[in-house]
């Protein structure tokens, strides 16, 4: 019987989460602070959105804005390790991919590789990719002429098994 009592104690103890601090910190305090944290997150997100708009206006006016996005075709076997972007033979951006970024691309996310400013007119875009395709190392490069108009210009660089594709937006 003694044993059963002891097992019962063990069992009951297993069922209860530790709440040693319950006396010092109440549930209401935890909840109250959590709500305040949520409020400040909301405030900071608003600041972030406002800052995004200000930056776009200040740094990338629409008449010169050009942005390059990278996406990965769903069925592509290509795993990019690094990408290099040149515009009019000038180095604009290089990026080395982390595992998380690759996964995000695979799931359909689109990476904004670079945002900058160019004049209206035609510009030569050159992309160099270093990566793997299956068990093999793969390097690829592709060029494209983008025509910058008076409005913002977006160019999607789509990585596929067969190579790099470009799409004007």
């Amino acid at each position: 019987m003694q044993m059963k009592k002891l097992i019962a104690m063990l069992f009951a103890a297993c069922a209860v989460l530790p709440n040693a601090y319950a006396e010092q910190v109440s549930k209401e305090q935890i909840k109250g602070l959590d709500e305040q944290v949520q409020d400040i997150k909301k405030d900071v997100l608003e600041i972030s959105a406002e800052l995004n708009q200000l930056e776009e206006k200040l740094l990338y006016p629409s008449n010169t804005e050009i942005a390059f996005f990278v996406s990965l075709e769903k069925s592509s076997t290509l795993e990019p390790d690094a990408i290099e972007l040149k515009v009019d033979d000038k180095d604009m951006a290089t990026h080395i991919y982390s595992f998380k970024e690759l996964e995000a691309l695979r799931r359909g996310g689109v990476q904004r590789l670079f945002t900058g400013n160019v004049r209206t007119g035609e510009h030569k875009v050159l992309i160099n990719i270093i990566g793997k395709s299956g068990a093999f190392k793969k390097t690829d490069n592709a060029s494209y002429v983008v025509k910058k108009g008076v409005g913002p210009q977006f160019l999607e660089i789509r990585l596929t098994s067969s190579g790099v594709e470009f799409k004007d937006w």
Partner: protein, 713 residues
């Protein structure tokens, strides 16, 4: 006793079931967006951030896009239009992941109340119910999920009934939950989870036998999935303890030994397996799992407890000398543990704990909670893994991390604003002197251009009129005009001279006629050429207009690049400063709360250690007494020169007569062992398996080891 223990079983089952809450999320396949379906790049960028767990950036991007979208006169023309429903949901989802339940709830309510399709509305209802469920508001969750009507989106085919069943369980509607979970039990996607919850629901509904059968089924699942295996362990653990409580120790052992040795529930299973053997009086067998458990990390409560369990078993086996030695070792370990706890408490009070946990490298991947367990064993973080077992502690710590992240962001933004200020000043300094001169030249060119355009318009109007009323004289060349002027002058001279010679007049008339004839005869050709020239002029005017507008835009851009930013920058600066102050205050509050929680938990542990120490001390003394008496008895029975087989080591006390009753009040060893067996469950898997704790001496292998070894899968 059974009646009093049932709530404990139920509580354990619910606690363990709650640990599987995450499954509802995990079961929902991550929505994959084929990039060929993507119609808005910035929406894709928000997903890119979210898929990496950067929810702040994802929300911020989507908020910006949604604000712009709703600010448009014709949002239907915007590329986000194609994803607008998804974007509204996703921002709510991201807010949930970012633990902004209030805002996520409001956003989803807005979708429900809006004029949306049935499937979208039902998805929103599902999500809102999930928020309430996660925020432990079961009544609100139930009211919400019961609003579902009509067609449910295909991808919620399993998630919706699973969530509904969980909500029913939370609201005590077990029969309804059982009905749903029975249907879901065969779903591969919910393998282990639906079955386990079904077992728990059956228990809670009073169908004990069915509950046992169901959990037994879950306890035999085959899988390579770590989560499913964890559910299998849970089921076996709950069953094992249930049978142990019901006095079926032999059967209990079967389930407890099925729990994997490297799983998150192995410590409790080893402890329980030992108790099952002990209840059967098989103390040698009890030593098998207990000895193994005793070598594990001392911060685990099961391990702490088993340090008393091992000598208790030895004492029951009448090996009092060994029991005394083990109690002595336990005392040493408890002393060291108390020292470490004191050091941890002191370190946390100095603020070292918060500094240690906000290190950047810990948050490099989504397993940051696991990374925290891998922190170096500094005093401030030594017990972190155990403290993480508390949901409130975890949530508070996450809040603290989020606040730290906000603090860093705000600090960077404040720096950005300073850089923008400087940039604006530089731009102003460059453009200000240039613009007046450019403006003046522009005005001159502008008026000149207007004049030329007016001229062109007049020419066009004239040509248009000439289509209906031919005017050859309008198309004469300069040479012809000069010639005609000279002819006119000759005619005038002749007239002044009284008409002159007829032959002369005829010659002048012929000359005039020749010019007029040429003009008339070439009229059509000249008209065509003039129209062509006008068209050429139009091309030039068009180019001129392009240059003109480009210049106007450039001039405007130049002006706008440094003008009109003062107020927005000032406003942002104030907002950032206010937010920084709030974050600082909240961090202090949240940090203090975490420290209070941590210190409270550690002090509780310290108290328990002291209790264990007292009990171990008494038990050790008694074991020595018994060992001495035993030895003395043996010495009486044996000739003086015969070696004493009981005296195994110098440390072992001399045998004495053992008259103590193991279960009696005067035998603290019996009461001591499980006196405070408070091994808190660690649903998140808070076990550093097989990692010997510092100061834990290697345990000798207990004598009989015929028990089937625990499943080492």
């Amino acid at each position: 006793m059974r009646a009093t223990l049932l709530p404990a079983i139920v509580a354990l089952a619910v606690v363990l079931a709650a640990a599987g809450d995450g499954r509802a999320e995990d079961a929902a396949p991550a929505k994959k967006l084929d990039s060929s379906e993507l119609r808005d790049l910035y929406f894709g960028e928000a997903l890119f951030q979210a898929y990496q767990g950067n929810y702040f950036d994802a929300i911020s991007r989507l908020d910006t896009e949604l604000t712009q979208y709703y600010g448009l006169d014709e949002p239907g023309l915007n590329s986000l239009f194609h994803h607008i429903n998804s974007a509204e949901f996703d921002v709510g989802d991201f807010e949930l992941y970012y633990r902004m339940h209030k805002r996520a709830g409001r956003a989803i309510k807005a979708v429900i109340e809006g004029n949306v399709a049935e499937e979208i509305r039902n998805e929103a209802i599902y999500r809102l119910a999930k928020i309430y469920y996660q925020k432990q508001q079961p009544q609100a969750a139930l009211e919400t999920i019961e609003k579902l009507q009509g067609k449910i989106p295909e991808r919620l085919r399993l998630e919706e009934p699973f969530l509904r069943a969980q909500i029913y369980m939370e609201n005590g509607k077990f029969p309804q939950a059982i009905e749903l979970l029975t249907k879901l039990d065969s779903a591969v996607e919910l393998k282990g989870y639906a079955g386990y919850n079904l077992g728990v629901a059956l228990f809670l509904n009073g169908n004990e036998q069915q509950g046992i059968a169901q959990l037994e089924k879950v306890g035999l699942l085959e899988s390579d999935d770590e989560k499913v295996l964890a559910m299998r362990d849970k089921a076996n653990l709950v069953l094992g303890f249930r049978l142990l409580e019901a006095g079926q120790a032999q059967n209990a052992k079967v389930y407890l030994y099925r729990v994997r040795l490297d799983g998150p529930f192995s410590n409790k299973a080893l402890l329980g397996a030992g108790w099952a053997s002990a209840e059967l009086g098989e103390f040698e067998r009890a030593l098998v799992p207990w000895t193994r458990l005793a070598k594990r990390n001392i911060t685990d409560r099961s391990v702490q407890e088993v340090l008393l369990g091992v000598p208790y078993a030895y004492s029951k086996l009448e090996v009092h000398g060994q029991a005394a030695v083990k109690y002595g070792l336990a005392l040493d370990i408890y002393s060291k543990e108390i020292e470490r706890l004191d050091s941890s408490i002191a370190s946390i009070r100095k603020g070292a704990f918060l500094k240690a946990v906000v290190r950047e490298e810990l948050k490099e991947d989504k397993n940051w909670l696991i990374n925290l367990r891998n922190l170096p064993d500094t005093p401030e973080t030594y017990y972190l893994a155990q403290m993480m077992a508390s949901h409130d502690f975890q949530e508070s710590l996450k809040n603290y991390f989020d606040l730290e992240e906000l603090r860093v962001r705000l600090e960077h933004w404040a720096d950005y604003l300073n850089a923008y200020d400087e940039m604006i000043k530089i731009r102003g300094a460059y453009y200000e002197p240039l613009l007046p001169e450019i403006e003046q030249r522009f005005r001159q060119l502008d008026s000149l251009m207007k004049l030329r355009v007016e001229q062109r318009d007049k020419l066009q109007a004239r040509l248009k009129k000439m289509l209906v009323a031919p005017r050859p004289d309008f198309l004469i060349t300069v040479e012809e005009r000069t010639l005609l002027q000279r002819v006119t002058a000759l005619e005038a001279a002749l007239a002044a001279a009284g008409g002159g010679d007829a032959a002369l007049r005829q010659r002048v008339a012929r000359l005039k006629g020749l010019v007029s004839w040429k003009v008339d005869i070439e009229y059509d050709e000249r008209f065509t050429r003039a129209t062509e020239h006008l068209a050429q002029l139009d091309d030039h005017v068009k180019k001129l207009n392009e240059i003109y507008h480009s210049f106007v835009r450039t001039r405007q851009a130049a002006t706008q690049s440094y003008k009109g930013f003062d107020q927005p920058l000032q406003r942002l600066r104030i907002k950032i400063r206010n937010a920084q102050e709030k974050v600082q205050i909240l961090m202090a509050g949240q940090g203090h709360m975490i420290e209070v929680m941590a210190i409270g938990e550690l002090e509780e542990r310290r108290k328990r250690m002291e209790e264990y120490q007292v009990k171990a001390r008494f038990a050790m003394a008694e074991s020595y007494d018994r060992a001495t008496k035993e030895k003395q008895e043996k010495q009486k029975d044996q000739p003086e020169n015969t070696p004493d087989p009981g005296a195994k080591s110098a440390a072992e006390p001399a045998p004495v007569e053992s008259g103590a009753t193991p279960g009696g009040a005067a035998a603290p060893a019996v009461e001591v062992a499980p006196a405070s067996p408070s091994a808190a469950p660690e649903p998140a898997g808070g076990v550093r398996d097989d990692r010997p704790a510092d100061g834990v001496p290697a345990e000798p292998t207990p004598a009989p080891a015929q028990e089937p070894p625990p499943n080492t899968e």
